[in-house]
């Protein structure tokens, strides 16, 4: 069962996305801000991190950079989530070290497609 870390400050987003992912067979852990996200991420063993970009304490861009700088999390796939859909957000996310990028409102199938592309193949 893939272990996902969801870093998201909005309670409703967290509740919703985590429940939907659990239904799809993921194990979901959560962090409510960038600082906690980095700590949890380093402590570890996640297969993939979903990172909201607009976070209190330290934002998603910075949290991603810190995760990328740590040996434990250097290679963990990170997908950036943002509600802004600003022109250039995608480039900015990739530059910060994210592997992919998705916009809110989340289309679950689209997000699952991106997650599965980054996760190791399921054991038979």
């Amino acid at each position: 069962m893939p272990r996902i870390l969801l870093v998201e400050d909005n309670e409703m987003n967290r509740d919703m996305l985590s429940r939907r992912l659990i239904r799809k067979g993921f194990e979901v852990d959560m962090a409510v801000d960038g600082k906690a996200g980095v700590e949890k991420g380093r402590a570890g063993g996640y297969d993939l991190i979903l990172m909201d970009m607009s976070l209190p304490e330290i934002d998603g861009w910075e949290a991603t950079r810190q995760l990328r700088a740590s040996p434990e999390t250097k290679t963990v796939p990170i997908i950036a989530l943002t509600a802004h859909a600003m022109a250039g957000d995608r480039e900015k996310a990739l530059e910060a070290g994210c592997n992919d990028y998705d916009t809110k409102p989340i289309e679950l199938d689209r997000l699952l497609g991106k997650m599965n592309a980054l996760l190791p193949p399921k054991p038979a």
Partner: protein, 633 residues
């Protein structure tokens, strides 16, 4: 609530604040749909699907108005977006409320909770308080301090207390009244945003209060929600007919109370904005009528111009335009009046003397079979100009006879005919019309429109200088005529004060367009005869050196004229023609401001640029010259 909004960009912040609830609505609704597999849930699934559809529509509206490429937005657009969002919002809330109402046998443990989350998210799509950065609430709105103010009218203290406390918990400010009369007093005394009105009350009942509120223009637009037991349907119907917006059945269902209050407040907000806009537009319309009537006062729209919305912008633009037009018109009027006074003065002080010596035609002669010669108007390098009567058309014309050496050969004549053909195409109030080119008894001639007036030369001789105002009036009309001629392909080649006529109204008429063309061809072949045609003082350097000239040569000449109008002297002068040549080719003209005071710097600069030695350094066209002169108005 959200840490996420990037503070620097209000559009991005608002986009984020609005997309987040849509995200929630879609997410929870999709999750609920997954829970409700199976045929028995078809009706619920349909409600959830319509919820998702409405949310996606809302998302489209948000994306369209708050495009990622934008970083500023007018408050009116924000209000408009909220207004648009009300439709999907209501559809979502309606669907959720139907689902909640039928939730008796809730299919899952979290069903009701999740629906309430959708409801809460939908409520965030449209603010109940005045919109962030939105239009200022209309005067008298209790919502000005951020809390909407609800008046609860009920004769039962228990109901008042219950409803009041519930509303306060929801974030409303509450005032209450124990009866109809008290309620009417409260609304005249304080600002209220919505009234919750019990139907059954002693003394003055709900219907009577409602009728009084609706009859008074001051309270007519106040939303009123009736409170009633459900068995009182006929009374409710009468109240709705009398103008109540909605009704609340007792006992209150908090969800419905919240939704109806939110809806009626939104309604009131838009009605207030609408009234405010209608009033503001009335002020703008009145100002527009004043502009038409010439009675617009600068600053008339000052108070409206402060508004941050589209009406404010309209007021600012209109004030600027109306003020600008008024100033230009009055300065133009003043200038023409002064010019007319100059002309009147010059006419009195300077009699045009008619010489009749050595002219080929005599007064009273009939020429070319149709023109009766009436007077000699002047003589120049090209020939003599007469005033004549065209007996065929019965109108006065000017007839210019050409010196024989100018039209001695066929080639010159043909080229000149081409030029006249072009020149005849120019129809403009500032250009003297050319009629014909012909020959009679060996004498070649041109006929032209006859203009009664004075030449600028005569004015200058009489007055010395004409001053800035007249220079601008003459200069801009000259630029206009050159613009039209150049666009037709005609270069004047001999712009000088003698060729500029002013009619008694101050309208400038430029004479002899294209005529100088004849002189150039002729001079080349008659150098030994020492024929000097043209007026060296006004000729451009390239014209003096015999190069091919283009429209910019006329602009140089116009610069000399402007210089002379302002200063009363030529920019460059010499005791002999050769000395003048040398100066024009080598020396920079002084600035008019070095000779006379009060020349506006922009005019000083324009004259200097017209007098540039190299055509490519000059003001590039007559149109640009005109624009720059007009900007000085």
């Amino acid at each position: 609530m959200s840490h996420s909004a990037p503070g620097s960009n209000p559009v991005a912040a608002l986009r984020h604040d609005l997309r987040t609830p849509v995200n929630h609505i879609v997410g929870y609704a999709e999750m609920l749909l997954e829970d409700l597999e199976g045929a028995s849930n078809a009706a619920r699934r349909a409600e959830l699907e319509s919820t998702i559809e409405a949310a996606r529509e809302a998302l489209k509206m948000i994306s369209l108005v708050l495009a990622p490429t934008r970083d500023t937005i007018e408050p009116a657009e924000v209000s408009g977006l909220y207004h648009q969002l009300e439709n999907p919002q209501h559809r979502i809330l309606d669907a959720v409320h139907r689902l909640l109402a039928a939730a008796g046998e809730a299919p899952t443990a979290t069903f009701v909770d999740d629906l309430k989350k959708i409801e809460a998210a939908a409520a965030r799509l449209v603010p109940t308080a005045p919109s962030p950065g939105g239009m200022a609430p209309a005067a008298g709105t209790g919502a000005a301090n951020g809390k909407a103010r609800v008046l609860v009218v009920d004769d039962e203290a228990g109901n008042r207390d219950l409803l009041g406390r519930r509303l306060q918990r929801e974030g409303y400010a509450v005032v209450s009244a124990a009866g109809g009369r008290e309620a009417l007093e409260v609304v005249t005394r304080e600002a209220v945003d919505v009234v919750l009105l019990d139907v059954m009350m002693p003394d003055l009942d709900g219907l009577a209060v409602l009728e009084k509120l609706k009859a008074d223009p001051a309270t007519r637009d106040l939303p009123v929600i009736m409170i009633s037991a459900l068995d009182d349907l006929s009374a409710i119907a009468r109240c709705i007919e009398a103008g109540a917006l909605d009704y609340l059945p007792k006992p209150f269902e908090p969800v419905i109370l919240r939704a109806r209050l939110a809806a009626s407040l939104a309604e009131k907000r838009f009605r207030d904005q609408e009234r405010d806009l209608v009033r503001a537009l009335g002020v703008v319309t009145a100002a527009a009528s004043a502009v038409e009537a010439g009675a617009y006062q600068a600053g008339q729209l000052a108070s409206l111009a402060q508004r941050p919305d589209a009406v404010g912008r309209l007021a600012r633009v209109m004030d600027r335009m109306a003020t600008g037009v008024g100033e230009r018109e009055s300065s133009l009027r003043g200038r023409l009046e002064r010019l007319r006074a100059e002309i009147g003065h010059a006419r009195k002080t300077q009699e045009v003397v008619s010489h009749v010596e050595e002219d080929r035609l005599g007064i009273g002669d009939t020429f070319a079979g149709r023109y009766r010669i009436e007077a000699v108007l002047g003589r120049g390098g090209m020939g003599t100009v007469y005033r004549g009567r065209d007996t065929e058309l019965d109108e006065t014309v000017a007839i210019k006879t050409l010196r024989p050496e100018l039209v001695a050969d066929d080639e010159s004549r043909e080229r000149f005919k081409d030029e006249i053909r072009l020149t005849r195409r120019i129809t403009h109030r500032n250009v003297v019309r050319t009629h014909d080119f012909g020959e009679s008894d060996g004498l070649w001639y041109i006929t032209m429109e006859f203009v009664e007036g004075l030449t600028v030369r005569q004015l200058l001789d009489a007055r010395g200088t004409l001053g800035v105002e007249s220079a601008l009036a003459i200069g801009s009309q000259l630029a206009e005529s050159l613009g039209v001629a150049h666009a037709t392909g005609v270069i004047h080649r001999d712009i000088k004060p003698q060729n500029l006529l002013l009619d008694p109204e101050g309208v400038l008429k430029v004479m002899d367009f294209g005529v100088a063309r004849l002189a150039r061809g002729a001079t080349a072949r008659h150098t030994q005869a020492g024929l000097i045609v043209g007026t060296p003082a006004y000729m451009s350097p390239e014209q003096l050196t015999g190069e091919e000239v283009d429209a910019r040569s006329d602009l140089y000449s116009a610069g000399v004229v402007l210089f002379e109008l302002l200063t009363g002297r030529l920019p460059l002068d010499g005791a002999t023609v050769m000395a003048l040549f040398a100066k024009v080719l080598s020396e920079d003209a002084p600035r008019p401001s070095t000779l006379v005071a009060d020349v506006p710097p922009a005019l000083d600069e324009l004259v200097a640029q017209l007098l540039a030695k190299r055509p490519e350094d000059r003001v590039e066209s007559a149109t640009v010259m005109l624009e720059r002169l007009q900007a000085l108005a």
